[in-house]
Amino acid sequence: MKGYLGIDVGSVSTNLVFMDENGEIREAIYLRTRGQPIFALQEGLRQLAERLPANTIVRGVGTTGSGRYLAGIIAGADVVKNEITSHAVAASTLVPGVQTILEIGGQDSKIIILRNGVVTDFAMNTVCAAGTGSFLDQQAARLNIPIEEFGKLALKSTVPVRIAGRCAVFAESDMIHKQQMGYSLPDILAGLCEALVRNYLNNVGKGKEILPPVVFQGGVAANAGMRRAFEQALGLEVHVPPHYNVMGAVGAALLAREKMAGGGTSRFRGFGVAKTRFKAGGFECENCPNLCEVVEITREGEVIARWGDRCGRWSNSLGYQENAV
């Protein structure tokens, strides 16, 4: 089997997909990053190699997510793209004609506006509306319900309670207040979903024209309560695509296919990198008062990439470079 590898290394999850030449997603892996992106990526590659047939040929690799440069170096990527473009490419391929993408992940929330298949506008959380996914996770843990049950419980609500959702800290104390007043758990959970949707639309979606079809993706799209809250707030049907939680990786695979369409061989280092010893270290350069945090990636003890310095003193000192902008 021949195909393309898409890798999305985010703050909360690390996802990999393998897409065959017809654009079919053959394998999808969703892992928790747990603050160790290199380990998560290697684990993902190991699992993927196990699941794929032995004669698999990787024709191209794309990486995305906040760890895209790191992942690009470790896996040997042919294309390294930001997550907005990746998500937009994936959604418009899997859901033709999509005009609005609501994307809520662990840390970032974004809205992407497409017209005629082209991104015309986007926004990402600025100083607020970050960490929606992590906040839901944390509340589920506090209430001792599995995160997978969160949405189902919220759907049982008939009269959602109004929760102050401007800020996560206020939301939590308001939830506790409503709890002590005796409201039922489903009503509180549904209220929280509505509050988070309100906050998202006021912060991230402000000033954007939300037209159908609307696609809701990212890890939070698993939460049926959030989906219903969006549908009620927008008065529109909200689609959750089949691979909603690995859309970034799907986009990266599609971008890799686009990049390699002109021919050439992939820079993929092979599934063997799962066994290679990579180490990310860092130091504070004390050459000037900027005290840049320089990141160093070593493979089997040999430095293969550096970045983070403003002046280029370290990042330019290697033959092979994969500089962040």
């Binding site: 930001n82 082209v118 990402m124 000033g207 954007k208 902008v325």
Partner: protein, 360 residues
């Protein structure tokens, strides 16, 4: 008297040229760095904007080098900047620094006072000498701006990554080294030669205008080196305010002809923003309109967190963007920096522009 002033991009070059020409001893604060920010943020009110924090850091670091007098701009209107000189001075006093403070208020309000402040700093110099000194500083500002414009043009087109920045650094040294107005023309020649040495190759580039609050626009530390990052992404940038234009508008009252002025920008702002909102809010809106008319591919607004005039402009931009069909992106800066997030937003914005224009 050892005079210091806050950093704002390359302003120190012209300001120290002028003061040193007039025989004033100058202490230039060390280049704004993470240390500057740490010092400033530690002692500043949390909800003050980034410029105040960096100014404060500059003054603390300048005091370590022996400065005893602060030269600072004043201001008026809804923007808090008018208070900054006084607030910063009070904080420094509380910290035990013994600084003298000289505030230059804008001349449209108190011409006589401004002149007496200049006289206070320059002491024995005659008025004629003072005017020559100001002129010398101003000529340097013009040269530096010219140099920056050239760099903005070259960066997205350079054949070797980093060659523009190398040339820029060398050329800047040429301008800094000039001690007398009569040597400026030759230095200008050398600067042009250095910049002409950067090899370029023709390729399609995007044009992006950068608007927003002036300090954040001019100080690369505050805006995370935005212009350089964009240059490397294949974008030719233009800044809506250059130092020489600002000086001409605010200190020379538009005396120098043939320069872009804030008046045009303010005239272009209606109907999106009809009146002055303090700071550079109206200019931000007006300049965005002008960039749209000039066929720029996009506009990036720089907003120091909690800056009221820029928040007003920010809320006006979505309507303007739809009305004139120009994509805009707002970047909020403060002492919390998340570089991964900034890079993602910039890359996505440039992707959007490139796909729209068809130059992927």
């Amino acid at each position: 008297m050892k005079v210091t002033f806050p950093h704002m991009g390359h302003m120190w070059i012209c300001l120290s040229a002028m003061l040193e020409y007039l025989g004033v001893e100058v202490v230039v604060p060390p280049p704004t760095s993470k240390r500057t920010l740490t010092l400033g943020a530690r002692h500043a009110p949390e909800f003050a904007c980034l410029p105040l924090k960096l100014n404060l850091g500059n003054f603390i670091e300048a005091a370590e080098r022996g400065a005893d007098t602060i030269l600072m701009a004043g201001g008026c209107g809804p923007c808090r900047f008018g208070y900054y000189a006084q607030v910063e001075h009070a904080i420094l006093e509380d910290l035990g620094y013994n600084y003298r403070l000289v505030v230059m208020e804008p001349p449209q309000k108190h011409v006589g006072e401004l002149l007496s402040k200049i006289k206070y700093i320059t002491g024995h110099s005659s008025w004629w000498e003072v005017i020559r000194g100001i002129r010398f500083g101003y000529q340097k500002a013009r040269m530096v701006d010219e140099l920056e414009r050239r760099a903005h043009y070259l960066r997205p087109r350079e054949s070797h990554r980093g060659s523009t920045d190398k040339a820029f650094k060398r050329a800047l040294q040429e301008i800094i080294a000039v001690k007398h107005p009569r040597d400026l023309p030759q230095a200008g020649e050398r600067v042009r030669r250095i910049m002409a040495g950067v090899a370029i190759r023709p390729r399609p580039v995007l044009r992006v205008g950068i608007v927003g609050e002036i300090f954040t626009l001019l100080e690369p530390f505050a805006n995370h080196d935005l212009e350089r990052r964009l240059g490397y992404l294949g974008v030719q940038t233009d800044r809506s305010i250059y130092l020489s234009e600002w000086v001409n508008d605010h200190l020379f009252l538009g005396l120098v002809r043939g320069l872009r002025s804030r008046k045009e920008a303010c005239r272009a702002a209606p109907p999106y923003l009809n009146h002055f909102v303090g700071g550079h809010g109206q200019e931000t809106v007006g300049s965005t309109v002008m960039y749209a008319r000039q066929g720029y591919d996009g506009v990036i607004q720089l907003l120091p967190f909690t800056c009221m005039p820029e928040i007003v402009a920010h809320s006006v931009l979505p309507g303007l963007s739809t009305g004139l069909g120009i994509p805009t992106l707002t970047i909020t800066v403060d002492e919390q920096s998340g570089e991964a997030g900034l890079v993602t937003r910039l890359e996505a914005f440039i992707d959007l522009l490139a796909r729209k224009k068809g130059v992927v």
